[in-house]
Amino acid sequence: MVDLIEYERGAQVAVSPRGLSRFRSMPVSKIISALFRDPRHFQITALSTLVLLGAFYYAFGLPLWHVLSCVGSTVATQFVGDKITGRRFDARSPLISALSITLLLRTGSIWLSLAAGIIAIGSKYVVRWRGKHIFNPANVALVILALAFDSAWVSPGQWGAAPWLAIALFGVGGAVTKKASRWDVSLAFLASYAALVLARALWLGDPLSIPVHQLQSGALLVFAFFMISDPKTTPNARLARVIYAALVAIVGFTIQFALFKSAGVIFALVLTAPLVPFFDNLFPASRYYWPNQIRKPVSQSPVAQPEGVSHDTVQT
C-alpha cells in the first residue's frame, strides 16, 4: 500500500513543469520538500557521505580518478542510452550507481573504473524483461570485473565491524530504504542472514560474539541498505520481496561459508536477480516509479512511450 501512496505523489510531481524551471516559481520550503520527496536524493546524500567517510576516515585507497571515472562513465552511458532510446536524461540513477561502484570496487586501473560504469548502466538498457532491467547496475559491474580481472576486487573487510558504524548504517540506511519503500527488503535480508549465522553458531557451539561480529560487518550493512534495496530491481510485491531477500541471504551465506568466498552476498545478488521476473509473475503488483516518473498503465497493450520516464519502457 505504501507503494501506491508513493505513486500518487509521483504522478503529481510528474505533471508539473519539467526540469529546474519548475523550481523557479516555488518558495524555498517547497523546493526543499520537493528535494526530500525523491528517495534518490537521500540515497545520493547517504552514499556520498559514505564515500567521504571511506576516503578520509577509513583511508580506503579511493583515488580521485576512480571517483571521477565512475561518475563520468555512468552518467555518460546513461546519457547515450537515453538518447538512443529517446528517453529524457536523468543523472540521478547513474550517480547512485557510480557512488556504489566507487565504494565497493577496488582497482588500480582507470580503464576498469570506466568499464564498471559502462557495464553497470549498459546492463540497464540491454538486459531487460518486460520493461524492467534485471540486474542491479553497480552489482553486475562489480561481479563481472572481479571475476574477469585480477586487478579488480571487492574488499569486504574495508569497513571493519565497529558497533558505531553498524548503528549509523542502520539509522541512515533505514531512513533511505523507508523513503524508497524498500525497507522490507533490507530488513528481510538482514533477518534471514542473521538467522543463518546464528543457526551456524549454535550448531558449531560458537560463542555469540562470532555471529554478532559477522552481522556488524560494515560491508554487509552497506549491501543491505544500499544495494539489495534498489526499488527498480527488486520484485514488485512485498511478499515476493521478502521471499527474494531471504533467498539472496541463503545463497550469499552458502557462498561465504560453504564455498569460502568472501563477498558472498554480492555474488548472490547477481545469481538471484534473473529470478525477479518470476517473482513478479507469481506475485503481481504494480511497479515502482521514481517520483518524477509517470505511472505506466497496468495493461500490456501497446502504449505510446510517456515522456519523462527515465529508464522504464513499456513492453510492447
Binding site: 588500480g108 574488499s155 573487510g157 571493519g160 568472501s262
Partner: protein, 461 residues
Amino acid sequence: MILSKLKTALTGGVAMSMLAVGAPAAAFCGFYVAKADTDMFNDSSRVVMTRDGDRTVITMASDYEGDPTEFAMVIPVPTIVTKDQVHVSDVTLLDHLDAYTAPRLVEYHDGNPCVSDEYMKRDRLDMAPPVVAMGSSIESEAAYLGVTIEESFTVGEYDILILSARESSGLQTWLTSNGYKIPPAANRILDSYIKQDMKFFVAKINLEEQAKSGGEMLRPIAVAFESPKFMLPIRLGTVNSKGSQDMFVYALTRNGRVETTNYRTTKIPTDVNLPVFVEDDFDSVYPAMFTKAIDREGGSGVVMEYAWDMNWCDPCAADPLSVAQLRELGAFWVGDDGDMQRGGVKGQARDVFVTRLHVRYDAQSFPEDLKFQTTGNKENFQGRYVMQKPYDGSMDCKAADRYKKTVNRRQETEISTLANLTGWSKTEIRGKIDASGKGKKFDIDSGSGERWWDDIWGNKK
C-alpha cells in the same frame, strides 16, 4: 657524501642492499639506518603464508624456548596432510623475510647551508619531503574415542599426527591422555573445528631426532595443502592467553596484497619525519607507535607494515629473498629457469608480492579466525620513518642563520609528529632528546639575526 654515509651504514653492521649500492636513486628513499624487527615484540609468533589459487604453504615458527619434552602444538588444518606435505624449514629464512619486510628508519643529511648550491638542493629536499609512492594401542584407544589417526610420521625433530575426530570430548580425552595439555575451555572450540570438517595437525618433539640434528632451537614447520579456505586459526591460541598476542603474517602471492576479509586491515603510519634521537631509540619508538595505531582501532587490529614486489626494495632493510629461498617458503610458481637482469642486479625475476601483516589479537576483539583474500593491489607500501639530520659542521655565513631557524622549526614539527604517533608527551620527548644529546636545537642570537624586513628593502647587513 654518499660514500661516506654508505660507509657509516656498513660499518654499523647493516647489510645494504644491492640496489642501494648500485643505483643512486636509492638515496631518494633515504639511507637505511635501523629496522623494527619482530624481536621488539615479546611472545610473538610468525607465520609465512604462500598462496596461489587454492595451493597453500604455511610455514610456522615458534618462539618456544622451554624444555623440548614440554613442547606440543595442535593446529587445525583444512585437509589431511601426508608426510610429503610436511617439511622442516630453516629459521634463518624467516629471519631474512622478517628483516626484509620490517618497518625501517632512514636518514638524510643536510648539507652545509653556507655552500649555496648544496643549500638550494637540500632546501628543495626539505620542501618536497622524501615521501615516496613508493599412531597399536594408541590407535585402538583413538578409535574408541572417535578419533582417527589419519597420518603419523616423523619429519625432522617433529613427531606429527594428523587427527580427525567425531566429537571434541573424545579428541580432548585422547590428547590429554597422550600428554598434550589442552585447557578445558578449548573443548567448544575443538568442537567447532570438528564440525567445520577441520583436521588437527599435532606435533611433539622427537628427542632422538632433535639430538641427531644437533639443533637447540625448534625449526619452523612448513605444511603444503590445497584448500579454498584461506584462513589462519587463532581461536585455540586465545583460550588461555592473559592478554593480547602479536602475530606476524608474511603473505607471499603472485597477484598482489593480501588483506583480511572479516577484519579491517589498516596501514601503519608512514613517511613521517621524526626527531633524530629516534636512531638510538627505535626499538621503543616503533612499538609505541604500533600500540598507538592499534589503539585507534580499539586496541586490536590487523596492520599492514609492508607490501612490496619481491624484486627490489628502497631502501632495503635486507636483500630481497632469492628464488631458492622463496621456493623453500612454498612459492612453487617461481621458476628456476632463465636468469634475468633486473634492477641492474644479476638474478632471477621473482614473481612474488609480499605483504607483512602485524596482528594484535585477543579473544574479545578477534572472536573469529582470520580470513584472508588476495587482491590485485600491487601498490608498494612500507613503514618508513625519516630522520633529517642537520648539518653539524661549522657555519659562518648569513644563510646559516636562516638555516638554523628552519632546522629549529623543523625539529618542533618532528616532536609534534612523534608525540602524535606514539602518544608520548612533548615534555617526555624533549627529555629523551636531552638525554640522548642528539637533535638539540641551535642557539640563535635573536638580536643579531636577520629580520623579515631586512630582505624587502635590501637593507641587509
